[in-house]
């Protein structure tokens, strides 16, 4: 469950991050837009001021032109005529400048119309002023009197002032509208940014909470895992102790049983011996009694004696066998209890001496034992001696009569283990017996060789105590190969399987 929820929070984490980024981008965009807008607003303000200034300059210039013209009309002095001309030129320039300043206006329709009106009015005014001035120049003051009376009085200056005032108002209106609009947008954006910031904070808070929760869960899961580990170790230790104890009990039991079995066996053996003594005395007495009775037929006595002997023979054989089996069990249990002394062992030398000890048997069987190069091993010398002398003895024991016996011992090193093989060309082991032969008292093939079925059990016990394993490959009638695998640095296994 903890795993599932952590997976879901892991899924939502990128989503939360993406949302956060989008909000951040929006806030940044808004800020940039606001800056740009402010810049545009200030530009607009500057433009408006510029336009107003140009227009007022124009107004001033028109008034000046007019007054220069009047001065000329009154005096007829050439310098006023010249001043008038210069002013008129200045008016034209100012008009062009005003027009240019207002060219970027937003409301082109209203503004354009007003500008056109202004231009027309200014042009007309200048034309009128020029015309009157020209007349005064040509015909003196008299020429002026013939002019329509209102042409002098009624100046266009008023119209121009009006148009300029309108234009200024218009310009100011436009500015106000624009600033108002941008302010509103700015406010909206500010609100949006604030909401975004709040969202970001909320998101961060949620993320922190989620991270804290998942960390909490992780910590809890970790704790559970730790506890499980600890209890697992404890469980393993307990089981190991139990196993060890059980094994010890089995060994103890086997030891006690074999000891206790021996006690009655001593009686059986002892009294069988006594019975033999009694038998001798009995038959002596029988023959002496028969002699006294002049009974000359010893046949029934002889038959009785044979039956007696047969029965005693079976009893004694069975006792001997049982004694051997009990001894074997005792040997195995004792081997299980013996402390191993691990040392580095030259296996060539060890196997060689084991083979030498069997030299007589090998000679009898006409068999050869070859020992290949064998890697050394760390192990218990006595155990290894027992293992290989048992395997070699078996190989010699179960040779075929019709072939020359060849027994080979080979060895090799692998990654963490050393492998030894004892190969023979003897009678082999039936497939169905390949596991059984390691069981105590179990043997394979015809019972024509002496043995109790203990050797391989013993070997297996020893190999396992050394931390290794033993397996067998065999072709029935062709030979067998026993493979002993031992760890490079043999570790003592206290819980070997013992009978």
């Amino acid at each position: 469950m903890a795993l599932k929820s952590s997976a879901s929070s892991a899924l939502s984490q990128p989503a939360r991050l993406a949302v956060g980024f989008v909000i951040l981008a929006m806030i940044s965009g808004t800020s940039i837009w606001l800056v740009a807008q402010t810049r545009a607003d200030s530009k607009q303000v500057i433009r408006t001021i510029e336009v107003k200034e140009k227009l007022s300059t124009l107004q001033g210039l028109i008034w000046r032109t007019e007054s220069h013209q009047r001065a000329f009309l009154l005096t007829g002095a050439e310098r006023y005529r010249e001043a008038f001309r210069t002013s008129a030129e200045a008016v034209k320039r100012a008009m062009a400048e005003s027009e240019a300043a207002m060219a970027g206006a937003i409301d082109q329709v209203v503004q354009g119309q007003l500008v056109a009106d202004l231009k027309a009015a200014v042009t007309a005014e200048l034309t009128d002023l020029e015309e009157v001035a020209a007349r005064r120049q040509g015909g003196g003051l008299e020429a002026l009197s013939s002019m329509p009376s209102d042409s002098l009085v009624q100046s266009r200056a008023e119209d121009i002032r009006n148009i300029i005032a309108q234009l200024v108002r218009q310009e100011q209106h436009l500015l106000a509208v624009q600033i108002d609009a941008s302010q509103r947008t700015g406010q909206l954006l500010l609100v949006a940014s604030l909401i975004g910031a709040l969202l970001l904070i909320a998101l961060a808070a949620v993320s922190v909470a989620l991270v804290r929760r998942s960390t909490e869960r992780l910590r809890a899961a970790h704790k559970v895992l730790e506890d499980t580990n600890e209890s697992l170790e404890a469980t393993v230790a307990t089981r190991t102790a139990e196993l060890r104890q059980a094994n010890e009990e089995i060994r103890h039991f086997a030891h006690i049983v074999s000891h206790d079995l021996r006690s009655p066996l001593v009686n059986i053996m002892g009294f069988t011996g006594e019975l033999e003594v009694v038998r001798e005395r009995f038959f002596e007495r029988l023959s002496s009694l028969r002699a006294r009775l002049d009974d000359v037929s010893p046949e029934p006595d002889k038959q009785l004696g044979e039956e007696f002997n047969e029965a005693l023979g079976f009893i004694k054989n069975s006792i001997t066998r049982m004694d051997r089996l009990i001894k074997a069990i005792l040997k195995l249990t004792r081997e299980g209890r013996r402390e191993l002394r691990m040392e580095s062992i030259d296996m060539m030398e060890l196997v060689r001496s084991a083979a030498d000890a069997l030299g007589y048997q090998a000679q009898e069987a006409g068999a050869s034992i070859t020992i290949g190069p064998l890697p050394p091993v760390v192990g218990d010398r006595l155990a290894l001696e027992q293992i290989f002398s048992n395997l070699l003895e078996n190989a010699l024991k179960y040779l075929r009569g019709d072939t020359l016996g060849r027994i080979q011992v080979t060895g090799r090193s692998a990654a963490n283990e050393v492998i030894y093989e004892v190969h023979d060309n003897g009678r082999g082991i039936d497939a169905k017996d390949r596991e059984r032969i390691f069981d105590i008292f179990r043997r394979s093939g015809p019972r024509d060789r002496p043995g109790e079925g203990i050797g391989l059990t013993y070997v297996q016990t020893l190999v396992r105590r050394l931390g290794g394993d033993i397996t067998v490959r065999s072709d029935l009638g062709q030979g067998s190969t026993f493979t002993v695998t031992l760890p490079c640095k043999a570790a003592i296994h206290p819980q070997e399987i013992s009978p």
């Binding site: 009655p264 009686n267 002892g270 009294f271 006594e274």
Partner: protein, 146 residues
């Protein structure tokens, strides 16, 4: 030859073993009386008599054959009582048992046993050992109980 009045006390729970031991001791030529007990209680009752001090056994001489594995008590307990008894402490005690545990052997000698013999498990050596023990009995000196 040990004097006739020395009594061999055999404390052995296995009657078969007791009989075989007796037979083989006899074969060594020992003719002394052998008194057998199959448990510790009756043996103690006999040795220490009714008052439990062993004073009634004054003037008698015992040679004690003791098995350690008894049904009712440990042979070592009997050994301890014998060797701490003022009357019986000088009687030779031969521990004859199946155990060959070194700790057990040491303990018995510490408690004052005179000879410790492990019963051989095969009969031939068993019979042989007992016969030798019988021969040993025939030469050993046994003091009388005070």
């Amino acid at each position: 030859m040990i004097p006739k009045h020395v009594t061999i006390i055999m404390i052995e729970d296995d009657e078969g073993h007791a009989r075989l031991i007796e037979k083989n001791i006899r074969r060594a030529g020992v003719r002394n009386e052998i008194v057998s007990f199959v448990d510790g209680t009756s043996a103690i009752a006999y040795l220490f008599a009714s008052d439990g001090s062993g004073a009634k056994r004054a003037g008698q001489a015992f040679l004690i054959l003791l098995d350690l594995n008894l049904p009712d008590m440990s042979g070592a307990d009997i050994l301890k009582r014998l060797k701490t008894s003022e009357q019986l402490k000088r009687s030779p005690v031969v521990v004859l048992t199946t155990t060959d545990d070194q700790a057990e052997i040491q303990r018995c000698y510490d408690l004052g046993c005179n000879v410790y013999i492990t019963k051989p498990v095969d009969y031939d050596s068993f019979a042989n050992s007992i016969r030798q023990l019988g021969l040993f009995f025939s030469v050993v000196q046994v003091p009388e109980n005070p």
